[in-house]
Every structure is written in structure tokens, then in C-alpha cells.
């Protein structure tokens, strides 16, 4: 909640205006029973038509005033709540983007999405309601009490008695409901999680014919959600009947004592009628309460979850910091690992241990190793997606931690293992993150990435829209677009994390040829020995350790594992083709 108050402060003028306008409406409504009692006691009882008409005129004037104020308040309340929602979303999204990659991974993506969408909407809608109704309830109650006391102190006091009981009850209810709705929200997360997973893995589910099991799993989570929603709502539904009952008890008391007072001559009929009217209004106002309590509890839970995210420890990445002062850019692209060790947060086993090697500018470094040997982790350290625990990584002789992260990333072209493309055209995807890029530059990058010919054959060429994750292209085509996206930045360092796996040998060969003409330091994680043959440096990893480095000839001579890999891929064919020639 502190976040909520901090943010709403910005709109206090509009918020207060909305409330003041609402008070005008309220005042008009609260005066009505008083005027009615005047009409009864001064007008009807004394047969004075003039008095009746005067008060009637006042009532009509009040009506117009209240209506005008109401319409205005709608604008102010909508402005405050929408601005608040906008601000929260902006702050939250900014915060999430500022998380370091390892902090980001602590949250399930689906949960972050719910927080950014559902939760914010919840808070926003409740704010709107709050500005218009929620305050109205206590104000009607308080106003009615005061007016009742003004009309007749003794009878008004009876009305007053019911209030403490109601307040205690409501406080208890809000507390209880908040925890129940928190659970609802958690279960909603689960339901959404299953949903998201199914949308992602739809093909696999189809081919394994797991529709029924998935449906059962979904039904189970939805069922849990249904149960907790029902029990939360059931609780809040007690509110209204209970409040009305208490207020009605008050009315009966007013009638009983009112009758006694009238007989004793210390009260008029008009006064009793006015007080009954005030209690009816109080009950009416409170009857909106159960809805408000439910909405408020939900919003409270949502605000809590937003807050949790916002207050996630400040291990956020510095997008800009003191290193921004460094003017130089990475020119050469030499990379040196000096006794680097790394483990993922919250895991015991190190992923990389004691890694040292040096890549001179323009080198092609092939990183080879078994699945899980730490190849991807190694290149992610260069990008500072994660940071090394021990040792140093130097780029152009300067520690990576000292490079401004922006400059670092601008100089490194990264192509991850899993292709990520964004909704938009092919051109947008290749130029992603750059401004003012000409079609020429895009085409050039696409040519280098060996995808140009494919693109121009598409009906809309470079303007072809890609669905999410570029689903309407083949794996190899997506990989090459992702490579073009890295190449267009003319990077000093290029990182290809097994990014050519879906390319056939010829295309891959052409691609590597094109890249070698770029004179950038290239890190190539690969399975194919054909790609390592021309590498200046081959780094062979096994279980997080660097077991050999050197060029092809050196490793062939010195390392048995490397030789075995080579033979498995080339030995036989080599001789076979040899014989063909």
C-alpha cells in the first residue's frame, strides 16, 4: 500500500476535487429528509402550501447542483484512477526490466504478467470506485448520524448505537477477506500458468495425445480456483444481510421510542419520519458495502503483490551508472578469461571453474563440449547476463564490469540458442533495437546471414509479419533472422550460441564464410567439427572445466577426446570421399 499512496499523491488535486464534488452530491442527499420533515411539520401540518412549494424548489435546485457535481466527479475520478493505473504499470514494468537476469528468473513469467495486468487493473478499478462510492459509504453514515442528532438528539442517539458494532464487524471482514482473496489470486496464477504452458506446448501435446490429461490438470486447477473464489465470496456475502439487519433493528427502536416521545410531546411526527429516513439511507449506503468490501479486499491483495515485486531487493542491474563516463567504445574485441568461476544463484555446484583463455581481436573461438558442460554459461558471462563469481573477464583489456553495460551490449552481437523473435515485420526484427536503420542496412545484414533470398521470396518480402516467436517460418529461417539481428549492429564481438544448428551444411558454410569477412571476434558454440576446423582457437569444455585449448592441428595432436569427436564426424566420410575422388 505505501506505493499506492506515494503514487496517488501526484494526483491529489484531482482526487480531492473528485471527493469534494462527491461531498456536494452527498450534502444534497443528506438535507432531503430534513426538508421532508419541514414539509410535514411546517407545511402539511399547518396547511401552508407556500412553505411546501419553497422547500420543493430548494429540493429541485439541489438536484441540479448534485447532478452537475456528479458528472464532473466522474471525469476527475476516471482521470485519477487511469493515471494511477498507468503509473503503476509503467513503474512496475520499468522495475521488471531493471531486474538483473538472475533476479528476473526468480519470478515465473506468468506471475509477472498477472501482476502487470490483472493486479493493476484491479487496483485501478477499485480506486475509481473508491473515489466515487467507497468514501461515500462512511460519509453517508456519518452525515446521517449528525443530521439525525440535529433533528432529534434522543432518537438520533439510538441510531448512533448501531455504528460501533458495524465498524468492528467490517474491519474483521476486510481482514479475513483479504487473506482469502490472496489465495484466490495465487490460484488464478496457477490456472494461468497451465494455460500459458499449454499454449506454448500445443504441438507437443497434440502429438503425444495428452489432451485429456492436460484438460484434467487444467480442470483441477480451475476447480481449486472455483472453490477458493466461492468461499471468499461467500464470506463477503454475509456482510450485507448482517448490516441491514442491525440497521433495521435500529429503525424498530426509533419507532418504539419515537412513539413514546410523540405521546410525551417532546418530538414531532416529522422528526421521527426524518430519523427513520436517515436510518434507511444509512442502511442503503451500507448495502453497497459488501460489494465494496469484496472489491477492496481483492484490490488490497493485488496491491500487495505489486508491492512485493516493486520491493524485490535492489539487486537490479545498473542500466546507467558511473561507468557511463567512459567514452571509449569496444574497438578491437579482444576477450580474456582469467581464472573465471561461476555458479547460478542458489545452486551449489559450480557451472564453470577456473577458465582461462585469451581471444585476440578478430579471432574465431569455437567452444566445444558435451551437453551441460557450461558453454552457454560461458558466453552469458561475456554479456553480463550473469556475473562471474571469481576471476576476471577482460574485454579490450578492461574488466567487463567496468564497461558501461550499454556500450558492452552495443558492441556484442548475441544470437541465443533459442530463437526469440518479436511480433512485427521481418525488417523490424532485424533492425530491432536500432533507430533510423535504412532498408539497405537491413538487406545487407540479411545477405550476410544468408536469409535475404528467402525473405525476398515471401509475399511481402521484408514487410512480412512474424507471429509470436516467428512461428510461420522454419527453425533455420528464424535462426538466420536472429543472426541478421546481431550482424546489423556491426559488432566487435559476435556470440553464436549454437545458432546454426538448424542450418544445412552448405548454408552454414556460406554463413561462416560471410562472418569471417567481418573481422569481428566470434564465439561459436557448436557441435559440428566442420565449424571448428577454421577456428583460431578451440576451447574444449568438460563438466565446467577447460580441458584443452588450441587450434585444430594442436588439439588433434594433443587431445584424445577431440580426436574422437573429429573421427566420429569426419573419419569415415573423409576416407569415403577420398576414395571417390
Amino acid at each position: 500500500m505505501p506505493l499506492f499512496f506515494r503514487l496517488i499523491k501526484k494526483y491529489r488535486v484531482a482526487a480531492i476535487t473528485a471527493i469534494v464534488l462527491m461531498l456536494v452530491e452527498l450534502a444534497v442527499e443528506l438535507v432531503q429528509p430534513l426538508l421532508i420533515s419541514k414539509i410535514i411539520d411546517d407545511g402539511i401540518a399547518r396547511h401552508d402550501a407556500g412553505v411546501v412549494l419553497i422547500w420543493c424548489g430548494v429540493l429541485v435546485a439541489g438536484t441540479l447542483l448534485a447532478f452537475g457535481a456528479g458528472i464532473l466527479s466522474s471525469f476527475y475520478a476516471a482521470h485519477v484512477s487511469q493515471s494511477l493505473g498507468y503509473d503503476i504499470r509503467e513503474k512496475l514494468y520499468g522495475k521488471v526490466q531493471a531486474f538483473s537476469y538472475s533476479v528476473f528468473n526468480r519470478f515465473a513469467t506468468s506471475s509477472l504478467i498477472t501482476r502487470l495486468t490483472n493486479d493493476v487493473t484491479q487496483v485501478q478499478d477499485t480506486t475509481f470506485m473508491g473515489l466515487r462510492f467507497m468514501l461515500r459509504v462512511p460519509l453517508v453514515v456519518i452525515g446521517s448520524m449528525i443530521m439525525a442528532l440535529v433533528v432529534h438528539a434522543g432518537l438520533g442517539f439510538l441510531l448512533l448505537l448501531t455504528v460501533p458494532a458495524l465498524i468492528l464487524f467490517i474491519v474483521w471482514m476486510v481482514k479475513k477477506a483479504a487473506s482469502l482473496f490472496k489465495k484466490v489470486q495465487q490460484r488464478l496464477d496457477n490456472v494461468n500458468g497451465v494455460m500459458q504452458e499449454n499454449l506454448t506446448g500445443m504441438r507437443l501435446i497434440r502429438v503425444f495425445v495428452r489432451r485429456e490429461q492436460e484438460a484434467a490438470r487444467f480442470a483441477r486447477h480451475s476447480g481449486e480456483l472455483m472453490q477458493s473464489s466461492a468461499s471468499a465470496l461467500r464470506l463477503t456475502e454475509i456482510t450485507l444481510p448482517f448490516i441491514v439487519l442491525i440497521m433495521n433493528a435500529g429503525i424498530i427502536a426509533v419507532l418504539w421510542f419515537g412513539q413514546l416521545e410523540i405521546r410525551a410531546g417532546s418530538a414531532t411526527t416529522g422528526e421521527v419520519v426524518a430519523i427513520v429516513n436517515y436510518s434507511l439511507r444509512t442502511a442503503g449506503a451500507l448495502s453497497a458495502l459488501s460489494m465494496l468490501v469484496a472489491a477492496f479486499s481483492r484490490a488490497h491483495a493485488s496491491a500487495q503483490r505489486i508491492n512485493d515485486t516493486m520491493e524485490t531487493d535492489e539487486e537490479t542491474q545498473r542500466i546507467s551508472d558511473e561507468t557511463d563516463k567512459i567514452e571509449e567504445t569496444i574497438m578491437e574485441g579482444s576477450v580474456e578469461f582469467d581464472r573465471v568461476a561461476f555458479r547460478y544463484p542458489n545452486t551449489a555446484a559450480p557451472v564453470l571453474e577456473d577458465i582461462s583463455f585469451r581471444a585476440s581481436p578478430g579471432y574465431t573461438v569455437a567452444i566445444l563440449g558435451a551437453t551441460g558442460s557450461g558453454k552457454s554459461s560461458l558466453v552469458q558471462l561475456i554479456l553480463r547476463l550473469y556475473e562471474e563469481d571469481e576471476g576476471n573477464i577482460l574485454i579490450d583489456g578492461r574488466n567487463v564490469r567496468e564497461w558501461p553495460i550499454r556500450k558492452l551490449h552495443d558492441s556484442i552481437g548475441y544470437v541465443p540458442q533459442e530463437v526469440v523473435l518479436f511480433t512485427g515485420t521481418i525488417r523490424d526484427n532485424i533492425a530491432w533495437g536500432l533507430e533510423g536503420v535504412s532498408l539497405e542496412q537491413v538487406t545487407k545484414a540479411a545477405r550476410l546471414a544468408q536469409i535475404h533470398d528467402t525473405i525476398v521470396q515471401l509475399p511481402n518480402g521484408y514487410d512480412t509479419l512474424l507471429g509470436q516467436r516467428g512461428i510461420n517460418l522454419s527453425g533455420g529461417q528464424k535462426q538466420r533472422i536472429s543472426i541478421a539481428r546481431a550482424l546489423i549492429r556491426r559488432p566487435a564481438i559476435l556470440v553464436l550460441d549454437d545458432s546454426t544448428s538448424a542450418l544445412d551444411v552448405r548454408t552454414e558454410g556460406a554463413l561462416l564464410q560471410a562472418i569471417s569477412s567481418l573481422r569481428c571476434t566470434t564465439f561459436l558454440i557448436t557441435q559440428k567439427i566442420s565449424s571448428t576446423l577454421n577456428a583460431n582457437l578451440i576451447v574444449l569444455l568438460d563438466d565446467g572445466r577447460l580441458i584443452a585449448q588450441g587450434n585444430h592441428m594442436q588439439l588433434m595432436a594433443s587431445n584424445t577426446l577431440y580426436r574422437r569427436i573429429y573421427e566420429s564426424q569426419f573419419g569415415e566420410e573423409g576416407s569415403h570421399v577420398g576414395s571417390l575422388k
Binding site: 412549494l53 466522474s74 500445443m202 502429438v207 489432451r211 442503503g284 552495443d410 533455420g476 552448405r506 557441435q527
Partner: protein, 614 residues
């Protein structure tokens, strides 16, 4: 100060153009059937068809609503009587009896309204549950191309936000709407009985109300739909950028995505503002009319009372009734917001439900019990979009147990061929048969249950490693799971993980590498024990060392099964019984490694290309 005060009046009117631009940008070029601006009747009817599942309980609720409406009407009437007959009277036993009666009415009223709400909640929750499950089930019946064209976040939004809206409306609004109508009718009747003249005067506000409501709803319907649309768009963007966070980070594009997010955020603020502000007029209008009728009744009623035409009690009853007459409308109006967005939401949910399912299996389609694995393609052509040719006149024959390698340049149609075999897509012409049965005559699920796939993107589900391996065949023992993992060479890395087979994988399989994922996918296929096996770049992310080790397992896996292998590595390809060489959707060459090498063609070219890299 003035700045802040005038702010709400400086919002730009949302334009249709902005929306069109957005749709274009989001790539939603798919035609949307049944997307009329709003088809209230049809939508409500469909919601009703869900509610109708609990007819029994619903009629109980209905009865309760009837009862509580009656009690609500009785309250003010009794107070009016009290004013006219007892307040200035002598009191005593009749007065006491009267109060006891009033108390009884109040207690019953609270009790009944509590019961009706509780029952309604369970009905509403069940309805929403059913809609969710239906929608989910339907998604699984939609053809794969549907998903290729939709943004996932946008679909998610329909599953979550829209259904949520329906839920909250049913919870509170349904009863309120119904009881409002009842109370309305009852009030009018009682009012007419008490004083026809005053009733007529009270009704003066009705035309005003109708006019005002029409003005408002004409605007809000469109606005709410637009707001929901913008919300879906925003969700899509959030989903996409958060799933692709690695790239966002690696390219230092945080600021830019924040900016683009801001653009969408502004859009939703704008449409949200107008939707909220204008729909906010409704309760104000109701309040205003409420106050107006109060003034009329007090004024005219007062004059009538002076003439002795009515009593003071009648005025009081009327004042209270007039409120009761507008209060249901007020409630209706308050519920209007939720109702509007709920109907818009329900409409969007039903839109998905209306998407055509994967063409139904032919009525004559049957299940096949056992499959030998003979697969024949004869003159099969296929295209994703009219006018293109993804596959042209493909014919080949795979005998049971054969290994068929499919090779060709990227984009040659290799994966499409497999998609046809699994009936994700349907061939435009030609036949595909399995064991002599046209696959169109076999139920899809039955067909697929005889196949196992190891795909390029090996997708893992949230759950333990064990569950993930067991995914294709649930009735297997832990032993069999481990056996399969051993064959796939996954056992050793699994045992090294904290938790071993019981390690819970996150939805995106983070924590293990791409290659390890593929090993799990292979283990999954081994366990599924199919007659037809499809390996689509299954080993592309597995290193050679590991591949050597699992080669034996893979070999054993392929033994006795018809296997289709899309691969680039020659040592995988050369062992195949047949090699299909595809290019530009055409089957160029077909034969064994030796046969194809012996003649000039793409294969020998590719093969030499490979060697040239040395």
C-alpha cells in the same frame, strides 16, 4: 492548481484509426468471424446456456429472489402504516404486535437475501469454471495454424481477464439485475394502488432516464470493447517481452521496450479514461433522477396532503418507494460497468469457441489398434497460403521398420512433410496412407497415438523430470522411466541434478540446457514406444560426444519402427534405408546413400560441399 484541475478535460478522444493501426501492428490479420460490434442477445443467450446447467438450484435462487423482493416491498409499506396509524396513537398491544411483525419481516429479509447470494455464488463459480474448461478444451481442438497466427498473450488475456469479468458479473450482478426488475414491478403496482396521481408524477423521470441511458450506452459499448482490445494488446506485449527477456537484456533494449510499452500503456489509459468516465455518468444520472422524483413527490405530495387527498404516511411510503424504484435502476446502472465489460469479455471468449475446430474426423473415421508402420505418400501437394507451393507432388513409400532421412536446404519443406503426416495440416491434394488406410479415415488422436515426435524445440512442462519423460505414456513404472532415460543417455545427468528424477522443472525448462532437454525428449519418445517415429532435428543441440553415446540408443529406438529423420549430420543420414532429398517443395532424389552418391545431383553436391569445408 488550475493545471491539475483542467487535466481530466484534456484527454484526446480515442479514435478508430488508432485502433486499426494497433491491429495492423499486432499482425492480427486473421479474419474474425462473428465479430459484430456487439451481439448482446446471442452472447447473453450463450451465457445462459451455461447457467442452465444448474436449473434446479437456479430456480431455488429465483424463488428466494422473489421472496426477498416481496419482503423488501413490505418494509416501507409497514413504516408508512406505522406513521399513519400508530405513531400518534396510544400504543399498547396492537402497536407492539405490529413492531414484532416488522422485526420478523426484517429478519426474514436478511436471511433470504443471504441464502440467495450464497447459492448464486456457487452457480456463478461453476459456470465460469465450465466456461474456462470448455475454452481450454476447445483450444486443444483448434487447428495448429490458428496458434501460428495468434499472439499468445492475447489468447491469455481472453482466458484470464475476460473470463474474470464474466465471473465477477455473475457473482454480484445477476441476482441484482433480476431482483431489481422484480422490485421495480412490485413497486409500481403498490404505488399505483396507493396514489395513481403521484405514481404518474414519479414516472415523469422515466423518459429522461431512457434518453440519458441511450446517450451513455451508445458510447460505452464501443469504448469498453476498445479498452479490452487495448488490454489484450498490452498483455501480448508484456508476454512477448518478458518471455524474450534474455534478448532484451543482451541487446540492452530495456529502455526501448519500456518506451514501446509506454506507448501501449498510454493507449489503454486513453480508452480506459473514456470508458470509465462516461460509464460513470450512469449512477450520477440515476442519482439525479432519484433526487428529482424525491422533490416532485415531496412537493406535489405535500400539496395533496394539505388538501387531504393523501396522508403523510403515503408520502413517506412514496419517497421510500420512489427510491426503491430508482434504486434497482441505480443498481442496474452500477452493475452496468461490469456488465458491459463482461459481455464484451464473454463475446471475446465465445469468439475463440467459435473458431473452427480442426476439421472433424470423418464420421467414418476409426481408431486403429495396431500399426505396422507402412507409410505411403502419393502425389501429395500442400501450401500454407494459397498461391504458394510448399510441397509439390510428393510420392514415396516407407516400408515398416525403415528409416527415412529427409534432407534438403532450409525451407525445402521437410518439416511441412512431417506436419502433414501428423495431420497438423491437411494436404491439398494427393493421399497419405498408413498401413494402407488413408490417414483421413483414421481418427487424429488414434493416428497420433502410434507416433512419437522428438521436435527441434523440445518443450518441457512444469513438473518433475520423471513426469516429463512419462509424458507420452502415463501407465509406466519408475523403472521403465529410468530405463528409457538410460537408453537416451539422460540418466547420468539426471542423477547429478539436485533431486534427480524428482527435480521440478520450470515451465520453460530453465535450469537445464537445450541439449539436455533434447535428451529428455528422446527418452520421452523411447518410453512412448510408437510404431512411427519422427525425429525433427532431434539431435541438433546434442554435442557429438553425447550423440555418439546415444546413437546406440537411438538406433535401438528406430529398430522395428518406421522412422522419419530430419537431420543434417551425415553419419545419421547415411545409415538410413532411404534418403529423400527435398528442394523448393519438390522431391528431387530418393534412394540410399550409396545410390544417391553414385549419380550426380543435389545429394552428392551437398555431400561434397560438406567435405569441401575441410
Amino acid at each position: 492548481m488550475w493545471e491539475a484541475l483542467s487535466e481530466p478535460f484534456r484527454y484526446r478522444k480515442p479514435t478508430k484509426a488508432a485502433k486499426e493501426y494497433k491491429e495492423q501492428e499486432a499482425g492480427v490479420t486473421v479474419k474474425r468471424p462473428k465479430q459484430k460490434a456487439k451481439n448482446w442477445q446471442a452472447t447473453l443467450k450463450r451465457v445462459w446456456s451455461y447457467l442452465a446447467h444448474r436449473k434446479g438450484r437456479l430456480s431455488l435462487v429465483l424463488f428466494m429472489v422473489l421472496l426477498s423482493s416481496g419482503l423488501t416491498l413490505l418494509g416501507p409499506y409497514l413504516i408508512g402504516r406505522a406513521i399513519d396509524h400508530y405513531l400518534e396513537g396510544p400504543g399498547g398491544a396492537p402497536w407492539l404486535l405490529f413492531l414484532v411483525g416488522l422485526a420478523a419481516v426484517y429478519v426474514c429479509s436478511s436471511l433470504v437475501s443471504w441464502l440467495q447470494n450464497i447459492w448464486m455464488i456457487s452457480i456463478a463459480q461453476e459456470t465460469v469454471y465450465r466456461m474456462r474448461v470448455d475454452l481450454f478444451g476447445h483450444l486443444h481442438k483448434l487447428p495448429i495454424p490458428f496458434f501460428a497466427k495468434r499472439q499468445r498473450g492475447e489468447l491469455m488475456s481472453r482466458m484470464t481477464n475476460d473470463i474474470d469479468n464474466v465471473s465477477s458479473t455473475l457473482n454480484s450482478s445477476a441476482i441484482q439485475i433480476f431482483s431489481s426488475i422484480l422490485i421495480l414491478v412490485g413497486t409500481v403496482i403498490v404505488m399505483l394502488l396507493l396514489s395513481p396521481l403521484l405514481t404518474l408524477l414519479t414516472f415523469l423521470v422515466v423518459p429522461l432516464m431512457a434518453l440519458g441511458m441511450k446517450w451513455i450506452t451508445r458510447r460505452t459499448g464501443v469504448l469498453f470493447k476498445e479498452r479490452q482490445g487495448n488490454l489484450g494488446d498490452l498483455n501480448g506485449y508484456i508476454e512477448e517481452t518478458l518471455s524474450g527477456q534474455r534478448i532484451v537484456k543482451a541487446f540492452s533494449q530495456e529502455e526501448r521496450v519500456i518506451e514501446e510499452f509506454g506507448e501501449r500503456n498510454r493507449r489503454i489509459k486513453l480508452s480506459g479514461f473514456w470508458a470509465q468516465a462516461i460509464s460513470g455518468f450512469i449512477p450520477k444520472l440515476m442519482n439525479g433522477l432519484n433526487n428529482l422524483s424525491f422533490a416532485i413527490i415531496a412537493g406535489i405530495g405535500g400539496l395533496l396532503a394539505i388538501r387531504g387527498a393523501i396522508t403523510v404516511g403515503v408520502i413517506i411510503v412514496f419517497v421510500e418507494y420512489a427510491r426503491q424504484f430508482t434504486r434497482p435502476l441505480n443498481d442496474l446502472a452500477n452493475q452496468w460497468n461490469t456488465l458491459l465489460s463482461a459481455v464484451a469479455g464473454a463475446e471475446r471468449v465465445f469468439e475463440i469457441l467459435d473458431e473452427d475446430e480442426e476439421a472433424k474426423d470423418e464420421t467414418a473415421a476409426e481408431s486403429i489398434e495396431s500399426v505396422q508402420g507402412e507409410v505411403v505418400f502419393s502425389h501429395v501437394s500442400f501450401s500454407y497460403n494459397p498461391g504458394e507451393h510448399t510441397l509439390k507432388d510428393i510420392s514415396f513409400e516407407a516400408r515398416p521398420g525403415e528409416t527415412i532421412a529427409i534432407i534438403g536446404p532450409t525451407g525445402a519443406g521437410k518439416t511441412s512433410l512431417i506436419q502433414l503426416l501428423s495431420r497438423f495440416y491437411e494436404a491439398d491434394s494427393g493421399n497419405i496412407t498408413v498401413d494402407g488406410h488413408d490417414i483421413k479415415s483414421i481418427r487424429r488422436e488414434s493416428l497420433r497415438s502410434h507416433m512419437a515426435f522428438v521436435l527441434q524445440d523440445s518443450f518441457l512442462f512444469e513438473g518433475t523430470i520423471r513426469d516429463n519423460i512419462r509424458y507420452g505414456k502415463l501407465d509406466t513404472t519408475d523403472d521403465q522411466v529410468e530405463q528409457a532415460a538410460k537408453l537416451a543417455n539422460a540418466h547420468s545427468f539426471i542423477s547429478r541434478l539436485p533431486g534427480g528424477y524428482d527435480k521440478i522443472l520450470q515451465g520453460d525448462g530453465s535450469g537445464i540446457s537445450q541439449g539436455q532437454k533434447q535428451l529428455l525428449a528422446i527418452a520421452r519418445a523411447i518410453l512412448a514406444d510408437p510404431a512411427i517415429l519422427v525425429l525433427d532435428e532431434a539431435t541438433s543441440s546434442i554435442d557429438t560426444v553425447t550423440e555418439i553415446k546415444i546413437q546406440e540408443g537411438l538406433q535401438r529406438l528406430m529398430e522395428g519402427r518406421t522412422s522419419f529423420v530430419i537431420a543434417h549430420r551425415l553419419n545419421t543420414i547415411r545409415r538410413a534405408d532411404q534418403i529423400l532429398v527435398l528442394k523448393d517443395g519438390k522431391l528431387l532424389e530418393r534412394g540410399s546413400h550409396e545410390e544417391l552418391l553414385a549419380k550426380p545431383g543435389l545429394y552428392s553436391e551437398l555431400f561434397h560441399g560438406h567435405v569441401q569445408l575441410q
